[in-house]
Amino acid sequence: MPAPALLGYCVRRASEPPVPAGLTGVDGAAVRAVEAAGLAVWLSEAGEGPATLARVRDFDAVVREALLTATPLPLRYGTRFGDEEEARRVLRERAEEFEESLGRVAGRVEMGVRALWRAAPEGGGEAGAPRAAPRSGREYLELRRAAMARDDAGRARAAALLDRLSAHFPDLPAVRTPGDGAGVAGSVAHLVRFGEVELYRNSFESARADLAEADLVLIGPWAPYSFV
C-alpha cells in the first residue's frame, strides 16, 4: 500500500504571506499551501524512502523559509496527508487548537542553550550497572545501589545547573530537556520575541560567565518546534 501522497511542513494563518514562488522541499518537490478555516498548511508531493539527513534538512529549510515572514507551527517530520481534502479536513477539525497555538508563538522564535559538562560528573549512564564484577549477590546489590545513588546525584546536579541557567532568562516561556547523564547536562528552549534575539544573546553571555562548570552552546533561532 503506497504511503499517503502529501508531506506536511507547517501550519500558518491563511492571511500571512504565501509560499515563496519556486520554493522546493524534500526531494526537490514544489511546496504549496492548502487552505481551510482561515489556516494554511504548507505541503509538497511526498516521495518514498526513509528520513535521510538530506530530507530532514530540506524539511527544516522549508519551515525556516516560513519563519522568515511569520512564525509557523512546524509539523513533525513525516506527517502525511492522503490528498488536499484530507489536509483541509485536518485544518477545519483542529482550527481552534491551531489558532490558539499560533497566538501563543506569534511574533516569536525559539532560542535555547545547551549545557555540556566540562568535567564528566560521577554517575551517569545506565542506572544499576556495576563498575566491577561482583563476587556475590549481596555485593551486586550494593554496587547497584551505589550506581543508582550516583545517577541520582548526577541528575540533581544537572537540575541545579539548569535552574541557575534558567535564572538568566526570567519571564520567557521555557521548555527544559534533561541531559544524557554523561556529557550533556541538559538544555533549555525559550520563546523569544522578534527583535529581542540580541537581548537573548546578551543573557546567554551572562549565563556563560556565571556557569563555570559547563560549556554553554547558543541555539537558534528556530521555528517553535518545542512550543507547539
Binding site: P50, L53, D60, R64, Y77, R94, G195, G220
Partner: protein, 77 residues
C-alpha cells in the same frame, strides 16, 4: 494599552541562525531533536511515519531517529 506585538521578524533576528547548513555537530543534534521529536503531531487517519523503521546509525539513505525516540521504542526509558 500595551504596545502591539510585532509579528514580522526583523533584520537582526536571524544573524545568529544556527540551523543545520554546516556540519556543526551541535546544530545537527538540535536539528534532529526538533524535526524528528517535536512539532505538531497529527494522528488519527493521517499516517505518521519515519519510514516505520527505528535506527540510530547515520549513513547513506539510512533512517534517522533521535536517540530519545529510539531508546523509548526499544524500551530503554
Amino acid at each position: 494599552m500595551p504596545p502591539e506585538l510585532p509579528v514580522r521578524p526583523e533584520d537582526g533576528d536571524f544573524e545568529l541562525w544556527s540551523g543545520a547548513e554546516g556540519g556543526d555537530p551541535h546544530s545537527l543534534v538540535e536539528l534532529l531533536n526538533r524535526v524528528l521529536d517535536r512539532g505538531v503531531v497529527i494522528s488519527g487517519e493521517i499516517t505518521i511515519s519515519v519510514a516505520g523503521v527505528d535506527l540510530v546509525y547515520l549513513g547513506l539513505n539510512a533512517v534517522l531517529t533521535s536517540v530519545s525516540t529510539a531508546r523509548e521504542r526499544m524500551g530503554l526509558r
